[in-house]
Amino acid sequence: MSDASSTPPFISLADVTKTWSSGSTALDRVSLTVAKGDFVSLIGPSGCGKSTLLRLLSGLSPLTSGRITVDGMMPDAAREIMSFIFQDATLLPWRTVLGNVELGLELERKSTREQRRAKCTDLLKLVGLADVANHYPRQLSGGMKMRVSIARALATRPKVLLMDEPFGALDEMTRDFLNEEVLRLRDNDQFTTFFVTHSVAEAVFLSTRIIVLRAKPGRIEREIPVPFPFPRTAALRSAPEYLALVGEVSAALRAVKALA
């Protein structure tokens, strides 16, 4: 729907179904197309399969039936252009901040150590972590760890970013700050994003589209477009149209929770 031209959509999910070995259905015939540069938030009650959807997109879990293509590739093959940001920062505790950010490039084995070092040092400057480049994760706060995790995900220059409730464990101020940070980085890199969250305010602030899922089985209940132009700033949070949309999405979320 967002892509009117004849070229195939950048990401497409067609009748995607995931059934666990226990027999319960996590996702039931989910179809969705996503254009390049979209920021899609997935929101819904727990058990609606939103995290499962990310795992299917990343190829970390196999589909039961249906089809997913990312930039014309199956999820397994598309991993090279995707990065996953997990719920916790998942940093390697034995590596410094710089070492962690270098990990993706190092595993690719396409660059020399010097190239990686230079590239990642620049990236750390961009995300404001240059002073802690040689710190170990245990010396950092939760918010800083998450920023390292984001920097690590961006180091390989992904076209698609899959974020699974990345800011769920952070306090509100840190979360707001990181939301703005994500938008700033998106202005730079123009990655396409899938973002799983429980926070309506966060979804409205970040997204171009919000997908509301219902649970048991997981299905797309509603899609709500977010029309606010980019770049967005913190000022948006007090705009009446923003608050109205937060109200609308909250109501939609309450409605699907009542279904379950």
Binding site: R79, T90, L92, L103, L107, Y136
Partner: protein
């Protein structure tokens, strides 16, 4: 460091008290020197025979260190193998427990029979006794990597070798050190036990274990005590070398690196 000195005060106090009691008992009960030599007699034996003590110390240290080093190398490789699949672990792990349950004094005569006496046989005894803690602890660390970290490596299309060397092994290093601490102490026990059976008896080739049997047969109880002290010193030395390396490798990133393990 200041804390360390302060905490060393108490055990030193205990040492002084024990020495005083020991000396007191020797005088009060008129215990003959060949049953229980008084502390000064043991000191005298240490000073008088320091050359043979140092020589025996060197030989036993070499045997224990050789067996220990080999057990680290072989143990880590076996742990790598075990980390490859649960089927491999289930099939082979029960047999590694044999290493722990078969009494080494029962195996030592076999080793003597098969490999003859000398340095290599003693090393082999130390190796066998050290192997299990290394395998068990390293395997534990290799297979308990958090799921998310494995997923992270999967997302990066990491190879099996990369997952092992860049994820599983570094994650297992703290566990490896638990094994290294245990094995450091028992490597000396292994070497001394090995010498009871398989030491070379050429002049100047016997280590602490061999010298202990010799001193015992000659009723040189003061020398025997000096040897036992030397053996404990060797065990301590090994242990502290391992603690030092543990600190060196882990203090940057691992919370528990400086805290003593409950044992």
């Amino acid at each position: 460091m200041k804390k360390l000195l302060r905490s060393a005060g108490w055990p030193l106090g205990v040492l002084v008290a024990v020495l005083a009691l020991w000396q007191g008992a020797c005088i009060a009960f008129k215990i003959p020197g060949y049953i229980l030599p008084a502390p000064p007699a043991v000191c005298a034996a240490v000073i008088e025979r320091h050359e043979s003590l140092i020589n025996a110390f060197r030989i036993t240290a070499l045997e224990a260190a050789g067996g220990y080093a080999l057990s680290i190398f072989v143990g880590v490789i076996i742990a790598f193998f075990f980390a490859q699949s649960p089927v491999i672990r289930r099939s082979f792990f029960p047999y590694t427990i044999l290493l722990q349950t078969v009494p080494i004094v029962a195996v030592a005569p076999l080793i003597l029979m098969w490999f003859g006496s000398g340095l290599r046989s003693v090393m082999l005894v130390a190796f066998i006794i050290c192997l299990f803690p290394i395998i068990a602890n390293t395997t534990q660390g290799l297979i308990t990597v958090p799921r998310n970290l494995v997923d992270l490596f999967m997302m990066a299309n990491a190879s099996r070798a990369q997952v092992l060397l860049k994820l599983r092994f570094p994650h297992a290093v703290p566990n490896l050190f638990v094994g290294l601490r245990i094995s450091a102490g028992i490597s000396v026990i292994g070497a001394i036990t090995g010498e009871f059976f398989a030491s070379s008896n050429a002049v100047g080739q016997g280590g602490l274990g061999y010298s202990i049997t010799y001193a015992n047969s000659q009723l040189q109880t003061d020398y025997l005590f000096a040897l036992v002290l030397t053996a404990s010193a060797l065990g301590f030395l090994f242990f502290f070398i391992v603690i030092f390396f543990e600190w060196l490798c882990l203090h940057h990133w691992h919370e528990a690196a400086m805290k003593p393990e409950a044992e």
